[in-house]
């Protein structure tokens, strides 16, 4: 089928870019109008990407267009865009969430003085993220990859008056940078080994699709390095530490960047370069196990946290682990499906959390309670998001998580067990969060009231999406068109009935346990704390990962830095001081020479003459 809108897909990122430029140029004078500019920008992107998606749902061909960016001799570096079913879907997800977050922010950030700056950053981020999705080769992707990193840094540190926000922004930037270096090295290796130095995804698929063109060792190395980049961006263990701290940023940012889009970029990157991973079983296993470990590891930390946003952040880390696991198991379909549904319900949860924080001005869930009575819309939509996350049918999270678990059961039962355990923990911490915040009696003075419509409408839209997004791919015969459309492979259906049964049971069990502990009080809240206080403390301290990093990296780096500083201060600085001192003392001596006595001057002239003649005549003897 001919493409109509796909060839204009490059315009999608242009809308938010225009919004960013307008906001940056005229920001100060705009105030409330600035928000409208940003909303219009993201709406333009949404409308066009929706048209592109509809076209592709109708079966449009893949479209690619690129231009020569840099020409060096016979080699040309290209930049361009790729419209496939996958990118079309991602375009809609990104622009839809961005659009809703923009609307939500109009309410949430209403009283902030730097509102237009905020919307400018958001627009820049939207542009970068859409560019990342559209990029048709790794280098272009890498540029946008760094751009989203910068936007993330700017937005985490948006309230730079808070020292925690500043530290968190720095941490996020530095930790993701470790991953980015991996990606950069992978990029250089690919550039070196690819025929014609072609970095486009089409060429990658071509080359790695056939065996023998690139040796297995190099393939594994490249794949692992790309995965390191994805680990940094998607907050996988061991580089997950920045994501919970990133919650110091404004809540809409947490929803947009640190739940729905940017952190999913790592998953998207692995999906996009999947042919490389496919060519190396070792790399796939690494991805699967790191993902699975992250899933259960982050979920266990989430149980012991008290900050509403941090719980959601660890939940995000855990769910990203799920996605990685799915891709590592060889099913891009399941991973992308979960990414798709997760984007909606996690954005919903964050925006709901933002609505709660907006109302009670605290982030500690123990200081909340009974908000379900006063904030009905927030409570209901939050409940939908929580149930979707916990994997309760028929909400979207259930279907996507099911696809992953079915894949795991089919490919690696050990990973299936890990996935089920993580699902149980997920259900448990979500019920704990929900019941502590919305059930029980009000604690925060009772002044909480429902947020304005600009904030609740996005919640409702996202709640609807969180309910229905899963229906595109159900494990019943004849309904698996989504996977077929997206990657050409349907999700795994074998043993689906068993998986559905087990995961539903586990999810309900987790919620029931949470209800018993936090609502009914049938089980004491301290049941674990009293028996094994070390366990609670360990979970509260996030397995001491931050402390370990501090001890291992920060302290040793600081020691090296101190040594370098000492070297600089004493050796380099000493040399500099020596040079300066030499000049100074020479000057002192020269000053003494200027005695004002003509005889001294005459003497200097004679000495100079003698030296000059000796130097000129002396050359004869050498």
């Amino acid at each position: 089928m001919a493409t109509v809108y796909s060839q204009y897909a490059w315009l999608v990122p242009v809308f938010p870019l225009a919004a960013f430029l307008i906001l940056t140029a005229f920001g100060r004078g705009l105030k409330q109008t600035g928000a409208i500019v940003a909303v219009l920008g993201s709406f333009g992107a949404l409308a066009l990407s929706a048209l592109v998606l509809i076209e592709h749902l109708g079966g449009a061909d893949e479209y690619n267009d690129s231009f020569h960016w840099i020409k060096i001799g016979g080699y040309a570096l290209t930049a361009g865009f790729d419209v496939t079913n996958l990118t079309a879907l991602m375009l809609v997800v990104v622009s839809l969430v961005a659009f809703l977050v923009n609307i939500y922010s109009m309410g949430y950030m209403k009283d902030d003085e730097r509102m237009t700056v905020f919307f400018g950053y958001v627009a820049l981020f939207t542009f970068s993220m859409l560019g990342l999705v559209l990029a048709d080769n790794l280098l272009t992707l890498y540029i946008f990859w760094e751009l989203v990193g910068v936007c993330s840094f700017l937005l985490i540190g948006f309230w730079y008056q808070k020292p925690e926000a500043k530290a968190a922004a720095k941490k996020a930037f530095i930790v993701t940078r470790i991953g980015d270096v991996g990606l950069l090295i992978a990029l250089l290796l690919l550039f070196w080994y690819m025929p014609d130095h072609d970095l486009s995804f089409a060429a990658i698929e071509n080359v790695f699709g056939q065996t023998g063109l690139i040796t297995e060792g190099i393939t594994t190395l490249i794949a692992i390095l790309i995965f390191v980049g994805a680990v940094g961006k998607s907050g996988q263990f061991p580089l997950h530490v920045w994501l919970p701290d990133a919650m110091e940023g404004p809540t809409p940012i947490s929803a947009l960047i640190h739940a729905a889009t940017m952190v999913a970029a790592g998953v998207f990157l692995v999906a996009r370069t999947f042919p490389i991973f496919e060519a190396s079983q070792a790399a796939l296993d690494t991805v699967a196990w790191v993902g699975a470990f992250t899933a259960i590891f982050a979920a266990s930390i989430a149980i012991a946290q008290n900050d509403i946003k941090r719980i959601l952040a660890y939940s995000t880390v855990s769910q990203l682990g799920y996605m990685m696991m799915a891709i590592g198991l060889g099913s891009v379909t399941a991973g992308m499906f979960h990414l798709f549904t997760h984007a909606f319900f996690k954005a919903l949860l964050f925006l709901g959390a933002g609505s709660v924080i907006h109302a009670v001005h605290t982030q500690d869930i123990h200081e909340m309670g009974g908000l379900g009575k006063t904030m009905k819309t927030t409570a209901w939509t939050f409940a939908i998001g929580a149930l979707a996350l916990a994997g309760i049918p028929p909400l979207s999270g259930f279907w996507s998580k099911d696809a992953i678990l079915a894949e795991a059961l089919h490919a690696n039962p050990a990973l299936f067990v890990v996935g089920i355990a993580a699902a149980f923990l997920t259900a448990l911490y979500m019920s704990r969060l929900f019941f502590l915040v919305f059930a029980g009696n009000p604690k925060a003075g009772g002044e909480a009231h429902e947020s304005p419509a600009t904030m609740t409408v996005p919640l409702i839209v996202l709640a609807v999406l969180a309910v229905i997004a899963g229906f595109v791919e159900m494990p019943f015969s004849g309904t698996g068109w989504f996977g077929e459309w997206l990657t050409g492979h349907a999700a795994e259906h074998e043993g689906a009935a068993l998986v559905m049964l087990v995961s539903t049971a586990i999810g309900l069990l987790g919620i029931y346990l949470g209800w018993l502990i936090y609502v009914k009080g049938a089980i004491s809240r301290d049941v674990v704390t009293s028996r094994a206080p070390w366990l609670t403390r360990m979970l509260e301290r996030k397995y001491y990962i931050d402390e370990i990093y501090h001890a291992v990296f920060t302290v040793s780096l600081r020691a090296i830095g101190r040594a370098c500083d000492a070297f600089d201060r004493h050796v380099v600085g000493g040399a500099v001081r020596l040079a300066g001192g030499a000049a100074f003392w020479t000057g002192r001596a020269a000053t003494r020479m200027q005695s004002g006595q003509p005889q001294s001057y005459g003497l200097y002239v004679v000495i100079g003459l003698v030296i000059l003649v000796a130097a000129i005549a002396g050359r004869r003897f050498w």
């Binding site: 005889q599 001294s600 003497l603 004679v606 000495i607 003459l609 003698v610 003649v613 000796a614 005549a617």
Partner: protein, 174 residues
């Protein structure tokens, strides 16, 4: 030039005699303590130089040398010493470093000059000038023909110096 073979011609004997007078006079000038004695030894140097000019067959220059240097300039020096009420005895040197460095520099310079003189080959394109006959007349002819402009300029210079010296040295009007 070569070796230590010395041809004891009359010129050489006279040269050595005058050279001894001059060097002794110059050294005495620097070493004597009484200023008046210094002036007297300086006059000896001037006279010795005049004699050397005679040996070089430059009788007119020798005459001028004795007249101006040994006469006028020595007298001027004595006048200068008298006018500045100088204590008759020179002080012991208060700047040993300065003196030593000066001496070393002077000796080094002499070494260089001496080396240059010894190594340079002077090859006259003509036999030595025999200016002994009518020396004064020849100089007079050249002064008033070839060098008349410098000669007149020197007269102006002398006049200016004469007036200037009077202006500088005269007591300021109260």
């Amino acid at each position: 030039m070569s070796g230590f073979y010395i041809n004891w011609s009359g010129e050489l004997v006279a040269f050595f005699a005058f050279a001894v007078i001059m060097i002794v006079g110059a050294v005495l000038m620097l070493t004597l303590t009484k200023v008046v004695h210094m002036v007297v030894s300086l006059a000896a140097v001037f006279l010795g130089l005049g004699g050397m000019f005679v040996v070089l067959e430059a009788e007119f220059v020798a005459f001028v040398q004795v007249l101006i240097y040994a006469g006028a300039i020595t007298i001027l020096m004595i006048f200068g010493i008298m006018m500045t009420h100088h204590q008759a005895v020179q002080h012991e040197p208060a700047r040993p470093v300065h003196e030593i460095v000066s001496a070393v520099a002077s000796i080094l310079l002499f070494g260089i000059l001496f080396y240059a003189i010894r190594t340079t080959e002077f090859e006259p394109s003509a036999p030595p000038l025999q200016a002994g006959v009518d020396n004064a007349m020849e100089i007079g002819k050249q002064l008033y023909t070839q060098h008349v402009i410098p000669f007149e300029l020197v007269s102006v210079l002398l006049t200016v110096a004469f007036i200037g010296a009077i202006v500088i040295a005269k007591k300021e009007a109260e």
